[in-house]
């Protein structure tokens, strides 16, 4: 096999993919694009062929690999247990090393290098939410999408934490991009630098718990940061915990809502119950046909939204169609990225961030 340093450790496990195709059944990008090469089975076949020198890394291969939303549905349904998402990400790193990233992804890399966030905003803009609470043992990690594109999510999260009497910090511009977008799109070394910086900030802050309102940040910090002495929680888990501990009081409404599982929270991290526990306390929850482990992707993940917007919108529209059928009046999701793409994909139902929705149900005076 040709030397591919990122893929080296996946060479042996790849032998176990026999192209059974069960990975295709619910693959969002395959369903949208239709070519077999846009399914996990096809991507594994192509990666193997590249490693064997049967095909060259080129733009055609890049297009097929970078249209994967990395939702992980294929991995859950892979009988041989091939780590398809990791393998695709490693292959993307090979292509990125060879300059085959899309211009959009290169631009994101450039912005993160310059401003430490993928939107190219002055990272000091995060300081408007800065909070230095004496003795705080919780850090609220805002991420980048919420403060720069959906600030109400940040405000709502802080309202919830305040209502529960949580002593917490927000470190403003010292909080850099979590690195998820770079790791997903093959810029591994740059993602490592962001991780090192953020871990250093966590340690310096002296907190015991990091809470985030972004599913992508949650997965990155929990899975890739290796901070064993600091507990990382998603806001859905934290709210569930605060309610259990009697620290947060919410009022029940007559709302009929459906819940969209972000892949980075659900399929990748197994967090399914916490958001549902909370939503059932404040509304009537109706499930979509595909939910929990079988949930469908919003279409935005893995860098697809930025580089292949049409694919992302197509996948999102399918998901919104499922949401509409439930008869719910709104879709709640705890990921700003899912919220943005689902909203962009269809106007058939309003899409509301989990924290914003929960904050709207805070009991007065809490």
């Amino acid at each position: 096999m040709t030397a591919y340093k990122h893929l080296e450790k996946y060479s042996e496990p790849l032998e176990y993919c026999i192209r059974c195709g069960f990975c295709k059944a619910n693959c969002p990008s395959f369903k949208q694009i239709g070519w077999d090469s846009a399914s996990a089975r096809g991507r594994m076949t192509a990666i193997k062929a590249m490693m064997r020198g049967e095909i060259e890394p080129d733009e055609g291969l890049a297009k097929r690999l970078f249209t994967c939303t990395t939702c992980g549905d294929c991995e859950l349904h892979c009988p041989p247990g091939v780590k398809t998402v990791e393998t695709i990400e490693a292959a993307r790193a090979e292509l990125a090393d060879r300059g085959l990233s899309s211009e959009k992804h290169k631009k994101i890399l450039q912005r993160i290098r310059e401003e430490h966030n993928p939107y190219g905003e002055k990272n000091a803009g995060k300081n408007r939410f800065r909070r230095d609470t004496e003795g705080a043992d919780v850090l609220y990690f805002m991420g980048c999408t919420a403060p720069f594109r959906s600030p109400d999510t940040v405000i709502a999260t802080m309202d919830i934490l305040d209502a529960a009497g949580v002593k917490y910090k927000v470190i403003g511009e010292d909080e850099w991009c979590c690195g998820s977008v770079l790791r997903r799109t093959g810029f591994v070394d740059e993602a490592d630098k962001l991780r090192e910086h953020n871990v250093e900030q966590f340690k310096r802050s002296g907190v015991k718990t990091v809470v985030t309102s972004c599913a992508g940040c949650f997965r990155a910090m929990k899975k890739e940061y290796g901070v064993e002495d600091i507990e990382v929680l998603h806001i859905t888990q934290y709210v569930d915990k605060l309610i259990d501990e009697g620290k947060l009081k919410l009022r029940k409404s007559r709302d009929r809502v459906t819940y969209h599982d972000p892949c980075h929270l659900g399929k990748h991290m197994g967090v399914y119950d916490a958001p549902r526990n909370v939503l059932r306390k404040v509304a009537t929850l109706v499930e979509m046909e595909h939910c929990r482990e079988n949930s469908m992707c919003c279409g935005a993940g893995g860098g697809v939204k930025s580089a292949y917007g049409e694919t992302a919108i197509g996948v999102g529209a399918t998901r919104m169609g499922e949401a509409k059928i439930t008869g719910a009046k709104l879709v709640v999701t705890p990921c700003p990225f899912c919220k943005t793409n689902l909203s962009d994909s269809s106007k058939c139902l309003p899409v509301v961030d989990f924290a914003e929705y929960v904050a709207s149900k805070l009991k007065k005076g809490e």
Partner: protein, 460 residues
């Protein structure tokens, strides 16, 4: 292929439905057949209707270009693997269900509709298309017709061919042929509908299918029977079917298959050397309970160690799902398993199971046997790792011996996977030289230039 011809082909389907990108060519050079790597085609085309299929075939026939039609590419025998340069035609864009008739218990569908999607749609009408291939989540109706696919429900409900009423087929010269009627039976002339059933894409491209359907049973009941020997399980199957009790599914699994389900697919199964997974269905609870009772009596007489009955319709769901994915799960043990697909007369099941064990021992190959024992269809999985010198060769030898054994028992080498590339060297042994000669004449009559899926079923 000349650029001029490529351009003509692209014009038929449009640029977005044609590709000469290496990534696409390599992905369409394989299917689920693990052994043979195909030749990368010159172009992959994704036509959206019969007229586009016709346009492609007219060009291919004129310039003598091989065409490999395929849908999901779930063949286990290399039926979709190109052996020569040319065209791979992906028909999955033709995925509309055209008409469901509740009154006539009938559906007309395009070839690229996925089996599971079809049945999800039919459920709304209280109907279903029973053949239930393990790959049902991804395989298409067109592929099922081309391979005469079936699965766990074949014991009671039969195979794809049993449901075929009519087809629209694009012939190799581009003519569009409508065969069959919507009548539930016919004695009119040669049976051209079933000529295309199990033709594996060698006679034309099936683009539209009319199927008979069944009303969904009102009651289903799952069960599993535990045994201390696989032969006892096999004898139970033979006696059960002979007694007139016909479960909707009766799957046999040996100790290795059970071990893989427990350890690799994490299915909670009780200890046993062999098991039968069963499903009974019917119009009411008493009918189903009667069948279970009669089965239980036979099973206990054959040495069954106990029967678990599902407490609800979903209790054994995980078990059935894992069973359907068992073949692929086996690759966790060895990456290059070879599957047999023999069918033997029911009375021959115990002898076949014994012979398979002997063949495995003789060739020093670990073999797991499982399958739709109720219709005599046994899938033996020969566990091989192509990276270990000699292991794949020994597995192939054992594979040949199992197929020979099936033919000696008056059985067949394939019950539902088809011939493809894998079994074509055995076709004349099963059908005889005259039989194969007739098949070749039929092929030649419909496809005189030999462009359709060459090198499959028999040597050109």
């Amino acid at each position: 292929m000349d650029k001029e011809i490529l351009d003509q082909l692209v014009d038929v389907v449009g640029k977005e439905n044609a590709s000469t990108e290496p990534v696409d060519l390599v992905c369409y050079s394989v299917d689920c057949y693990a052994i043979k790597k195909g030749v990368m085609p010159d172009i992959v085309l994704r036509p959206g209707n019969a007229e586009e299929v016709s346009g492609i075939l007219k060009i291919a026939n004129k310039f003598l270009i091989p065409v490999v039609p395929r849908a999901s590419g779930s063949s286990l025998t290399g039926a979709c693997v190109p052996t020569r340069k040319g065209i791979v035609m992906d028909v999955t864009r033709m995925n509309r269900i055209l008409n469901v008739s509740r009154e006539d218990l009938m559906v007309t569908t395009e070839c690229g509709v996925v089996f599971a999607d079809l049945n999800a749609h039919l459920r709304k009408f209280g109907l279903f298309f029973p053949p239930d291939p393990a790959s049902g989540e991804i395989c298409t109706v067109g592929g099922m017709v081309a391979a005469n696919a079936s699965g766990m429900r074949a014991v009671k409900y039969g195979v794809t061919g049993d449901y075929l009423l009519g087809l629209k087929v694009v012939l190799p010269d581009g003519r569009i042929l409508d065969v069959g009627t919507k009548a539930r039976k016919s004695a009119s002339g040669y049976d051209l509908v079933h000529l295309f059933n199990r033709s594996e894409g060698t006679l034309g491209v099936i683009v539209e299918i009319t199927l008979k359907l069944k009303a969904m049973p009102r009651v289903t009941l799952g069960a599993r029977a535990k045994y201390s020997s696989v032969q006892a399980a096999g004898s139970t199957v033979a006696r059960t079917i002979a007694s007139g009790v016909v479960p909707a599914a009766i799957e046999l699994l040996d100790s290795i298959a059970l071990q893989v389900m427990r350890e690799e697919a994490h299915v909670d199964l009780p200890p046993a050397e062999a098991m039968l997974f069963l499903e009974f269905d019917g119009d009411d609870r008493s009918e189903v309970n009667r069948a279970l009772k009669r089965f239980t009596r036979i099973a206990l007489e054959e040495g069954c160690d106990g029967i678990d009955v599902a407490k609800g319709p979903t209790e054994f769901e995980t078990m059935w799902m894992a069973r359907k994915r068992l073949f692929a799960t086996f690759t966790r043990l060895k990456p290059s398993p070879i599957a047999t697909d023999i069918v033997v007369p029911l009375s021959g099941i115990p002898a076949a199971l014994k012979a398979i064990q002997d063949i495995g021992n003789r060739n020093e190959i670990k073999i797991s046997t499982y399958g739709h024992a109720g219709d005599g269809n046994l899938h033996s999985l020969l566990l091989a790792d192509h990276r270990i010198p000699g292991e794949s060769e020994r597995a192939h030898k054992a594979h040949d011996e199992i197929n020979e054994m099936a033919m000696q028992l008056s059985g067949t080498i394939t019950g539902e996977h088809g011939i493809g590339l894998e079994k074509k060297k055995l076709i004349s042994k099963e059908h005889g030289l005259v039989g194969v000669e007739i098949m070749k004449r039929i092929k030649s009559a419909l496809d005189p230039n030999g462009i359709m899926n060459p090198d499959k079923i028999f040597e050109a």
